[in-house]
Amino acid sequence: MNIIVCIKQVPDTTTKVRVGKDGKHIDPGGVKFIVNTYDDFAVEEAIRLKERFGGEVTVISMGPERVKEALRMCLAMGADKAIQLWDPAFEDSDPYTTALILSKAIQQLPYDIIFCGKQAIDRDTMSVPVYLAELLGLPQATLVVKLEVDPNARKFIAYRDIEGAKEVIEGLLPAVISTQWKLNEPRYPTLPNIMKAKKKELKELNAAALGLDSAQVGEKGSRVKVLSMELPPPRSKGKILKGDPREVCRELVRLLREEAKVI
């Protein structure tokens, strides 16, 4: 099977994020970047399919120089090849243009199945996998918690947790699958595989190589623009009510109603 995984490099959840000077981006200074948590499930599922049915896993990421480190981590987990998509023109791409760029790269490759994490833990838009499937004209299953693939019949069965129920859907391959917690338990790269990752192919493709012109991508091609970004206000201090329990209760109800406006 030819398996493709789209991954994103995102700030580590333990990093303290600051808004940059322009008020539209996070300040990358001092931020530790990791492979998006949900993408780990995608990479793991891809490697398991390869281990079972044979084939090749290619990981793709759009992003600047630093994403090479994320791609190498996926190679260390067991992916075979990596492609970094970058061009200064890609800066500030929205989910649609990101999916467009990914789709151009994928169209140059043979593929039977494409995995994405269900969302990136930085912007949380959950939309790249959906756009991607549409742009490639492929069936899709999102938020998948269990997957069965039959490469000979070219079919898949995907299990999804939906509000209060389980949904099982069947579709044809090739397809785009977005991965959710519970799908699997991503492996840690072994130390020897970390060393081997350096020797695996990591290709770079720019806008021209993908046949994209700069008006289609980046901020220009985007349909959604970030106007401003700010941190949530710091949580205000809690209040402690003291005194006679009856009085305290009455005061609590009043505050919940009038100040917190929750009842």
């Binding site: 480190e69 981590m73 840690y188 790269p189 072994t190 130390l191 020897p192 970390i194 990752a197």
Partner: protein
């Protein structure tokens, strides 16, 4: 000098950090309280290649350098010092087998040890011979293709879980330390048993035991190196081992610092977080500075070893400084926690107990100073 890690070394550091913080840190407190040997975690670590890090891949190891080993030890120790000593000793046991073992010994013992199929112990210390290891009494007598071992070893890490024990015994009493030989003893050999399991102040998830040899029959092909080479073999292993303990100390110290800074920012006194008081800030500054110094000394010793240069003095310096440092740092981290630091509710109480042993095993601070002084004084001016 700036210390620049390679891309692979950074990836190893990141991977082991993630593993340690997710798989070890959340349960390390329980292991400590209940003295549970982290069996399952050790097999996960074996799969990752952490138990034979510097053994070449043809012998089942990860084929990595000492710098990577130090980084990995720091990360494991950050989460659990007990787990790191088990890992450290297993890596330590691999080294003499790799350097002095015959091909048959390597296939039989080194490969499964490096793969972590079973774990190993390093048995040098005796009840009456610790720092003065040359004064050991365990004897080995060659008789009909078997060495007959008699004596007791003391303080042996992983004793009740290991399958293979690199053990020293006296083959020629008159020759003092040139009369000590090293043997590969297997669990289950006739006349070999595990004695008392020690009840320790710290490292409670790692077992420390007595080993008892009563006419224990060890096949002569299990002699490691030549007769009389035992002391040299063990001391060479300990040079590398000291880099391991220095790394362990740095890891525990970093955990202390992180716990202390987290606490200092939250805890309030006199109307402000205690992190605002200069007295606390200066403690934090000193801790961070000392950790950085110890880390650099440790990586420097590791780098020398990787380049094939003499590193005995630097390994001793790193071990001395880092182990004394982690005790100062743990003291301050506990102080910053106030009364809460004295409770088992906070991990700093465990760090404080675990840190204590680092100035004792693999050569006490006094012995490190002896090593360093001897090497400093013997250089020509």
């Amino acid at each position: 000098m700036t210390f620049q890690l390679t891309e692979e070394q950074r990836m190893i550091q990141m991977t082991v950090r993630e593993f340690a913080r997710k798989e070890i840190e959340p349960i390390a407190g329980k292991w400590d309280r209940e003295s549970l040997f982290p069996e399952e975690t050790i097999s996960k670590m074996a799969e990752m290649g952490l138990l034979g890090m510097m053994v070449p891949s043809e012998y089942g190891g990860a084929g990595l350098d000492t710098v990577s080993y130090s980084l990995a030890m720091q990360e494991i120790a950050y989460a659990c010092a007990s787990t790191s000593v088990i890992m450290g000793v297993n890596n330590l046991v691999c080294e003499p087998l790799l350097k002095f073992g015959t091909e048959a010994q390597k296939q039989k013992y080194l490969v499964p040890l490096a793969q972590g199929k079973f774990i190993g112990s390093f048995a040098l210390t005796e009840p009456g011979a610790g720092s003065d290891a040359a004064n050991q009494k365990t004897s080995a007598l060659l008789k009909d293709n078997f060495y007959i071992l008699n004596g007791t070893k003391m303080f042996i890490t992983s004793g009740s879980h290991a399958k293979v024990f690199i053990t020293t015994a006296v083959t020629d009493k008159a020759a003092r330390h040139h009369g000590i030989s090293a043997f590969i003893v297997e669990k289950g050999m006739p006349g070999f048993s595990i004695g008392k399991i020690e009840d320790k102040m710290g490292l409670r998830a790692s077992d420390t035991t007595e080993l008892i040899f009563e006419n224990c029959r060890v096949p002569s092909e299990n002699l490691l190196g030549k007769e009389g080479e035992g002391f040299k073999i063990m001391m060479a292993a300990l040079d590398g081992g000291r880099i391991g303990i220095a790394s362990q100390s740095v890891g525990i110290a970093q955990a202390c610092l992180d716990a202390a800074t987290r606490y200092a920012k939250k805890r309030e006194a006199f109307g402000q977080p205690i992190a605002e008081f200069q007295g606390i800030r200066w403690m934090i500054a000193d801790m961070a500075t000392e950790i950085e110094a110890a880390r650099l000394l440790t990586l420097q010793a590791a780098l020398l070893k990787d380049r094939g240069l003499p590193f005995t003095k630097e390994a001793s310096m790193a071990k001395l400084f880092a182990s004394e440092m982690v005790n100062r740092v743990a003291y301050k981290a506990l102080q910053i926690h106030g009364g809460y630091g004295y409770l088992k509710d906070f991990p700093v109480e465990r760090y404080y107990r675990d840190a204590r042993v680092t100035t004792i095993y693999e050569g006490t601070s006094e012995i490190q100073r002896n090593v360093i002084a001897k090497l400093v004084l013997s250089t020509e001016d």
